[in-house]
């Protein structure tokens, strides 16, 4: 990108330049990130109904399927969000590689969190997990005993395999790490940083991550422990 000395040529040029810029790409990442965070919270709240007995989830799934505009609207928004989120991650990662071709012999991080330094690992691992998760519980190709519509039964039979449960638990730990940094980082990216609010936002990020990790992990563990049957 050349230096921005020329007058701006119309709205289209402005949009392209915004998306060309590192800040523009990070804003895309933050906005799509917020959509995805909203979804994973809603997704967990829905799934916690698994604790209300063997039928609750099936009824819930039935209800979602009876509202095609809601279901497909959500799916399309999520697909676009994940796509744009990955697009900005990939383009920025290329930039970072170019920015430091020669690394340090010794490098000692001073304050940064492990989570913040591994965003470009936790993110792609989540992407792989999302694909597996959809093939496992939504379409069934990755689930040997899958029965369409029997959501509760699919879940219980799926998680009774300790390897399957372990992969879900691992993925949720990745999600927790990604959001431990991501949920406050997205505010910083769009320009919200204030001595009064930023410490609160970091606590919020920790709380959101803890809720998502504990809530989600409790389900495979409960299945393995025989609490959910």
């Amino acid at each position: 990108m050349s230096t921005a000395t020329t007058a701006l040529a119309g709205k289209a040029a402005r949009d392209v330049r915004f998306l060309d810029s590192t800040i523009g790409k990070k804003v895309v990442m933050a906005i799509t990130g917020v959509i995805l965070v909203g979804f994973v919270i809603g997704h967990l709240l829905g799934n916690l109904q698994v604790y209300q007995g063997p039928h609750a989830l099936d009824v819930y799934a039935e209800k979602l399927k009876s509202l095609p505009p809601l279901l497909w609207g959500t799916r399309i928004v999520l697909l676009i969000s994940v796509g744009l989120h990955i697009w900005s991650a990939v383009t920025l990662a290329g930039l970072q590689k170019r920015a430091r071709p020669v690394g340090y012999v010794k490098l000692k991080p001073v304050t940064s969190t492990y989570a913040s330094r591994t965003m470009y690992w936790s993110g792609p691992i989540l992407a792989l997990f999302i694909v597996y998760h959809l093939l496992h519980f939504t379409t069934g190709q990755a689930h040997p005993q899958f029965v369409e519509g029997k959501v509760h039964q699919n879940l219980v039979l799926g998680f009774q395999n300790p390897l399957v449960s372990a992969s879900y638990i691992l993925a949720m730990l990745m999600l927790g790490m990604h959001l431990y940094h991501g949920v406050w980082s997205m505010f910083q990216t769009v320009g919200v940083n204030h001595p009064k609010y930023t410490p609160m936002l970091k606590k919020l990020a920790a709380a959101v991550s803890a809720f998502l990790v504990i809530g989600n992990i409790s389900i495979p563990i409960s299945v393995l422990a025989g609490v959910i049957k």
């Binding site: 800040i23 980082s185 320009g191």
Partner: protein, 256 residues
Amino acid sequence: MKLTLHVWRQKNAASQGKMERYEVEANEHMSFLEMLDVLNEELIGKGQEPVAFDHDCREGICGSCGFVINGVAHGPMPGTTVCQLHMRHFKAGDELYLEPWRASAFPVVKDLVVDRGAFDRIIASGGYISASTGSAPDANAVPIPKKYADLSMDAAQCIGCGACVAACPNASASLFTSAKISHLGVLPQGEPERRERALRMVATATAEGFGNCTNIGECEAVCPKGIRLEFIARMNRDYIQASWLQRQESSAGGVG
């Protein structure tokens, strides 16, 4: 005290460098650069090439000095440039690795010296105010509330040493650029060009080959002048507004 140093030696920009091992006898009253002076005296005495490092004021205000000591830009003491780092913070037998700032936008000139011309070009692209100032105005002719004066002064502390880039895993110049955008932008004199300034300086930083910010915070931790991440958020705000609210020049008002 006896120290073992591993120093990045590189003849010039075109040559391959490598780490070389040296032993040096220092005392706790020396500054880090004085310790290197002692090493260099010895090397010169032996007919070898002294270790090149940038320095000028040696009192922590010019921004010339700086290299990475054991993986931390400007070494282990917070808020301190290497010229102000004292040997009393080290102990006999310590093994220290000295490396230049690493970024493609900061090519190595020689040993620990890098070319920070990219910073000058970022400033040249927008880090100024184009008002005609005449003779020096009265100090308080433009009243500025203390909190804004303070904020501007905090940002103006930046000495452009480059430690932020060196410490950033993405070799991003966001902390530097944001400080240079903010110290002008918070004052009334800098306000008219605030948006254009953000657009130009951010674009120049990317064009120079610096990476993007991922809000890691290592820059803030090593900054000898305490520049805060808050300024990066401010830069992002200015940039976002600039991108979406910028108007074209128009002659409709009769001044075209």
